[in-house]
């Protein structure tokens, strides 16, 4: 992750952020138990948005949108601290859809692409003043060897030879590309190697995000040229000019996924009214700040304990880094939760504001008092069909971790 100064519409090219969950193997990442397409979208997009760049429009592409009847866009904008007046396009799509969305995007558009099934990953791009992609070809063809239906059922009829011949080869021909692409997002490693120019990068995902992982690889190696994105037999291609684009990666070394036991016990109850009251503070990580004396409280409160003012507060963004004040790991089964899990009281950097949250991204019981880390959006719980998003503590890779089994 580069520490470049403010990027945005003044920049040429695009700023790309990439995120891989810390679980799985180098062959493919899997989601943490508290992640979904939305939390991964936020992880990737924060890499390009946190620097303060202006965003005029958001396109969120995934085949695993958490909610199909609305409810994804508000947490996405809130967690990214973007205005809730922005247009957000929620799009179901894979690698070609993302390439299409990128090449047609106006400056300052944020395109976020997420794969929430293994191999999992997410990437986001903020388009600069000059879009570095230009259309090079397309073939909308159908060879649905894998299907996923609206009722959730999926079917597979894998025939790699058929896909190679009647899918990839035929679509590449139909798109009438001038040459072999430098990289082919969405294709299996074998197909990508067979149909790309020499030196094509290996990509960590196969779906929507793979297009941006492909562009990121080209930026990192300063290569410009033809890029193809394929999903089964559907193909899009574009010419990419790498100069002027930057990449910020949040891709930690993968670790073996922790086996957690989910205990039966029905859904965790939810009060939607309470959810709604807490939403902006919890998802946007904002304290209530007293307009009279400046005291910050999370959750926000009616009566200020600093000066006694009633109902005189506004929301103020809290730092999304902090230090563990105390912690415990729960080992016993808890109905509807996955044990073991670690809780921590975390003090936000530069404030005296603390909050209780889950510890994420490391095995349970490994974080020590004093550990420093980031506060990241996670799906804290599923509650009667509602993903309950909030912030969790992700220790820095260098943070003091204890040996397994000791919180103290």
């Amino acid at each position: 992750m580069s520490d470049a100064s403010v990027e945005g519409v003044d920049a040429m090219g695009m700023t790309i952020g990439t995120y891989l969950p810390p679980w799985g193997t180098s062959d493919g990442r899997v989601l943490g138990y508290d992640e979904d397409a939305l939390t991964m979208a936020v992880e990737a997009a924060r890499l390009v948005v946190d620097a303060g760049a202006a965003v005029s429009r958001v396109v969120f592409v995934s085949r695993e949108l958490p909610l199909l009847e609305g409810g994804n866009t508000a947490p996405l904008l809130a967690a990214l601290r973007l205005p809730d007046t922005l247009e957000v396009v929620e799009q179901i799509g894979g690698a070609p859809a993302v390439l299409d969305a990128l090449m047609s995007a106006a400056p300052s558009t944020l395109v976020v692409a997420v794969d929430a099934v293994a191999p999992a990953g997410a990437a986001a791009a903020l388009i600069g003043a000059r879009n570095p992609l230009t259309f090079a070809g397309r073939a909308q063809r159908s060879l649905p060897q894998r299907t996923r239906l609206a009722d959730g059922h999926s079917y597979r009829d894998d025939d790699p030879r058929l896909m190679r011949e009647s899918g990839v080869r035929t679509s590449l021909a139909a798109a009438q590309l001038a040459e072999k692409p430098l990289v082919m997002a969405g294709a299996s490693a074998r197909d990508a190697a067979a149909w790309s120019a020499a030196g094509a990068p290996t990509l960590p995902t196969l779906g929507a995000s793979s297009t941006l992982f492909a562009l990121a690889a080209l930026v990192d190696s300063s290569r410009s040229g033809l890029v193809a994105a394929i999903e089964q037999a559907a193909l899009s291609a574009a010419t990419f000019a790498a100069a002027g684009s930057t990449v910020r990666r949040h891709e930690r070394t993968p670790q073996k996924a922790v086996v957690r036991k989910r205990s039966p016990g029905g859904d965790i109850k939810l009060s939607l009214a309470a959810y709604d009251r807490a939403f902006k503070s919890k998802v946007g990580w904002q304290a209530g700040q007293c307009t009279s004396c400046g005291l910050m409280s999370i959750p926000p409160r009616f009566h200020c304990l600093g000066c006694g003012a009633d109902d005189q507060w506004t929301l103020a963004a809290l730092p999304r880094t902090g230090t563990v004040y105390t912690t415990t790991t729960i080992h016993v089964p808890v109905p509807s939760l996955e044990s073991p899990y670690t809780l921590a009281v975390v003090e936000c950097d530069g404030t005296d504001v603390r909050s209780l949250m889950h510890v994420t991204d490391v095995p349970p019981g490994r974080v020590a008092i004093g550990a420093h880390g980031r506060l990241v959006l996670r799906r804290v719980a599923m509650r009667t069909g509602v993903p309950d998003y909030g912030h969790a503590f992700s220790p820095d890779p260098a943070a003091s971790l204890t040996a397994a089994g000791g919180a103290t």
Partner: protein, 386 residues
């Protein structure tokens, strides 16, 4: 303000009363308390009653007490103040008597934890006791509540998990002698340390069992005491302390602020200090809670509670015996009954009739802490009229 004394006290055994419901346990405890009154007491003498009940087993608690005990013509109120409920109903009974409105009050604590499944009790209760948006979905179980304090305490103080284990060992040792106790077996430090983890740093043997039970004390205004007994136990002081609800708002988690507040009030009212306390029943829902409470109650200097443990000062026969009844750890913990049962033990100790008698005991202190470590109740009882 009138002085108040306890003239009778009784309790059911604590344990898994699968064959008895709350409607049997409550009258059992009241009946035993009435039977303990030296010169006898007719239940029609009772002018008001409080039920301390944290859960709502079988429904409407005040009505259940009135109905099951035949106390249908007096005011009855159910009070819930988390695990400080027991001391809190005694406090309310004292208010009622001292103010002059009532002469005799029955303070009955009861809970039926094992009418819920052992695997879901904490969770079922949690749904009613946590902030629905912020805390509940995190799975902040009761043991985790206290474990967050214990982790920080062990981080700052020289105490270790071994010191915590020694508290469990001591309370089991005391409880063996208590016929009303739930777990009447001795355990070793090694057993405690090797037990399966519940919420670090608590293993299973750092935790109280889940219990059913009821307990009653009968409180009387000073001018009526002689009608009932010549050896009453007097209320010397009491206090109720409240702290911030959410753990993130407690600045120093090496101490229970609510206990410090309750102790300050109770000591001030009694005109006594920690050194005047001969023995205490201290809320040991988890071992470290008893350890930290030694400091909050003034029995040990800050971060020196482990020294009291190492010197075995907390055993019967030691400088300040703690939990001669076996404590919550051995005796059991039906939350509403717990605090009342502590006062049953103190009543018996001060009258020289305990199963685990402390020689020369004249002043005893009962302590509860509960909820998200946000409520503490303390009662100080004495042999001599204040």
């Amino acid at each position: 303000m009138r002085r108040v004394a306890i003239v009778g006290a009784g309790m059911t055994s604590f344990g898994e009363h699968f064959s008895r419901g709350i409607k049997e346990l409550i009258p059992m405890a009241l009946g035993e308390a009435l039977a303990s009154v030296d010169k006898g007491m007719d239940r029609r003498d009772i002018g008001a009653a409080w039920l301390g009940e944290v859960g709502t087993t079988d429904g409407f608690g005040a009505g259940i007490l009135a109905d099951s005990c035949g106390l249908l013509d007096i005011p009855v109120t159910r009070t819930e103040n988390a695990c400080a409920t027991g001391q809190d109903i005694i406090r309310q009974a004292i208010y009622a008597i001292a103010s002059g409105y009532v002469d005799v009050v029955a303070a009955v604590g009861a809970d039926k934890v094992r009418d819920t499944s052992s695997s879901s009790t904490f969770w079922d209760w949690m749904a009613q006791t946590r902030d629905m948006a912020w805390d509940f979905p995190l799975g902040l179980l009761a043991p985790a509540n206290f474990a967050l304090h214990a982790s920080r305490y062990l981080h700052e103080a020289p105490a270790t998990r071994e010191h915590m284990a020694m508290i469990a060992v001591k309370n089991h040792f005391h409880g063996v002698k208590n016929p009303k106790a739930q777990l009447r077996n001795e355990i070793t430090v090694e057993q405690v340390l090797k037990a399966p983890l519940v919420a670090e740093p608590f293993g299973m043997f750092d935790c109280t069992p889940q219990s059913d039970g009821a307990a009653t004390v009968l409180l009387v205004a000073e001018e009526h005491v002689a009608r009932y007994t010549d050896r009453p136990v007097w209320v010397l002081g009491f206090g109720l302390g409240i702290d911030r609800v959410m753990h993130q708002h407690k600045r120093d988690m090496t101490s229970f602020t609510c206990t410090v507040k309750a102790a300050k009030a109770a000591y001030a009212m009694a005109g006594l200090g920690p050194r005047d306390i001969d023995f205490a029943e201290v809320h040991d829902c988890f071992t470290a809670v008893e350890l930290i409470s030694y400091e909050d109650l003034g029995f040990a200097e800050r971060f020196c509670a482990h020294k009291l443990v190492e010197a075995r000062d907390h055993y019967v026969g030691g400088r300040i015996p703690i939990n001669p009844s076996g404590g919550l750890k051995s005796k059991g913990h039906p939350p509403g009954a717990t605090g009342v049962a502590q006062c049953v033990e103190i009543f018996e100790q001060l009258r020289g009739q305990s199963h685990n008698q402390i020689d020369g005991a004249r002043v005893g202190l009962a302590h509860n802490i509960g909820g998200p470590t946000a409520a503490s109740g303390i009662t100080i009882l004495g042999k001599s009229r204040p």
